[in-house]
């Protein structure tokens, strides 16, 4: 079970609501997929006009499924390309590049009880949570806030599941978060996943009711992943200028230019790739440089860190 990228084939596409598309993905070579955990997501590389997009989607298939993965994609009205591509261009039989599953939102295994609040498409990670709890016996409750006409959309994933309640914007049907979160029961963990405003409201209500921060969890999609605005880097010793794309690291770009750069962990921890910075301001994302080193501005870890301005000059 070692690998970084996968080729996936679209096995089926189904519109389950005007703005929601269910996509079933299988291994393009007909083999098995790696198993994944509740709360896991994959990144899909989607071709767009002139460039490609790397979007993360929660797996809604049951944890451990190896024959196929399911995702549900909402068409974002202001889509920068990814969700529009899936809704308008993607066809059954197409192949896509994907990452191995990652997980930034796993359920806490020591919890006595799991309380989940979803807003709209934010239900997706909890569909795999429910499947996990059905297997492992975890006590749980899921509250879903959505438009009334969307409350049956997820029925295929909720068949046989217990502890699910729907809420929508009508008298008698709204979720009363302060009441739900009042007097937190010992050992209960709260998970929220929805639009930023709903997440913030849920976290604030929990804090006001005295929930310990360690028992409140929120999905932050892709926050820790590589990427950001494109920039340029001049490698002074080599005399080469490289363009660092939005979806690649500075280290990737240096290597692509054929310049040897020592590296080890590629995750900002080991310090091996630290490179002398001659000009430009770095956006430091590593765990290695001390605050003093960052302030001095003479070193950068190209495996994770990027440029604050448009250009850096490295002594490589």
């Amino acid at each position: 079970m070692i690998g970084q990228t996968l080729r996936l084939k679209v096995a089926a596409l189904t519109d389950i609501a005007p703005s929601l598309r269910h996509v079933r993905l299988v291994a393009a070579d007909g083999g098995k997929l790696p198993p994944a955990a509740a709360g896991a997501h994959i990144q899909l590389v989607l071709a767009g006009p002139g460039r490609s997009f790397r979007n993360a989607y929660s797996l809604v298939s049951r944890p451990g499924a190896r024959d196929a993965w399911d995702i549900i994609v909402r068409r974002v009205p202001t889509s920068r390309g990814g969700s529009a591509y899936i809704h308008e261009a993607l066809q059954a039989g197409d192949t896509l590049e994907a990452s191995w599953p990652g997980n930034l939102f796993a359920p806490v295994r020591t919890a006595r009880r799991h309380l989940m609040i979803a807003g709209g498409i934010g239900i997706t990670p909890f569909l795999s949570y429910l499947a996990d709890f059905a297997m492992s016996g975890g006590e749980h409750a899921l509250h879903v806030c959505c438009r009334e006409e969307e409350k049956d959309v997820f029925a295929p994933w909720l068949a046989g599941r217990s502890g699910v309640a729907f809420h929508w914007d009508a008298d008698g049907h709204r979720l009363d978060s302060p009441a739900l979160l009042a007097a937190p029961p010992a050992g209960t963990h709260l998970y929220v996943c929805g639009q930023a405003a709903m997440n913030d409201e849920g976290i604030a209500a929990a804090a006001a009711a005295g929930w310990p921060a360690s028992h409140v969890h929120c999905e932050h999609f892709g926050a820790a992943l590589v990427g950001g605005a494109a920039f340029r880097a001049f490698l002074a010793k080599s005399g080469i200028e490289v363009q660092v794309g939005e979806d690649e690291s500075l280290l990737d770009a240096i290597e692509r230019a054929g310049v040897a750069a020592p590296c080890l962990c590629r995750g900002g921890a080991c310090g091996v790739c630290a490179a002398p910075l001659l000009e430009g301001e770095a956006e430091h994302r590593d765990h290695f440089l001390s605050p003093a080193e960052r302030n001095a501005g003479r070193l950068i870890m190209p495996c994770v860190s990027r440029a604050k301005g448009g250009r850096l000059v490295l002594d490589l």
Partner: protein, 361 residues
Amino acid sequence: MSIAFKPEETFRGDYRYRNSDAAILRFPFPFPEDRYMYSVNIEPHTRSGPSDVYLHAFDVDEHYIAECRDKAITLERDPGRCQVLPHMMMAQWDTLELLMESLSADYPALFSLTKEGDDFGSLWTWINRPLGIEQRFVFGDAETLPCEPFEYITRQAQGDFAICDQRDDNLYMDAGMVTSQADWSLEFDVGMSFMEWHGPVPLAHQTGVFERALKYLLMLRLGQPVRRLNWTMSINPRLDTSPESYPEWGPDRASVTPANAGEKVHLRVELQTLWRLPRSNAILFPIRCYLASLDDLARVPKWGKRLHRVLSTLPPQLVEYKGLTRYLPAALEWLAQRDDGAELPVGTAAGVTRLNAPVSG
């Protein structure tokens, strides 16, 4: 290449453990330079490296049968060497699946796994030919195995295993099978957080090694395992150097002389790998132990000389922490006779394809 197992070997009592020439040449020698200091020496565990111990997900070598027997002896005497906290059942099945899939794929002549399905509830058949085991069981149903799944599969693997649960931006050692440890106690550490179980390590905390390592491990990805080497020294080729059994091996430290150091003193190298587990999101931490005597190592001239230089410049805090104080002078006297002071190339590669004749005598 088939492996010539040596089931008659022992790791206690008469210590009938010996490395073949091939085993010495593939030893994961840990010192690329003449001096040693802690660092976050983590790198991707891809199927490549300077020794062929790195070529498989989980290395199996000529000591496999004897090591599994020694583990069974230790467990019979002290069942507490295997502990699993109740919330770790999903991680137990993850571990069983990872080991069975990796071993059967890497060593098809030795192990086989046949599945009627991949999901919990599927019937699986596991065959371990070196140990003569054939087991049909239901994946996900612990009642269908002779013991819980983590103990079941790690009894059939060389080295120790810990499982770290990830929560609160921390790692907790919530399960372990620990029978070949370098003087640490699972009974003491089980349930501890990452900083707590690393508490006794000298010098490394001050340089922030553990903060960086923890942050890195919290982001460890499925499918991208990493590895590092750690090392210490042991007197006699003994796997069970635990605090619990200290009276059985501690006094051996006083038995080393410059005359017998080549045979008695062993370099103990741990190939530590770290794996994100797929269903539980926990991290599996296998600690695979390799033992080579000074006699063995000196048959590779570069290794004998480098070990002399590393040990003679080791910071006193590390000498004490690693438990070398009592016998280090005798070991250095033995090694000094085999170090001509010639400059050595950087790197851990043996630099030879055939060994010198045995040097002790």
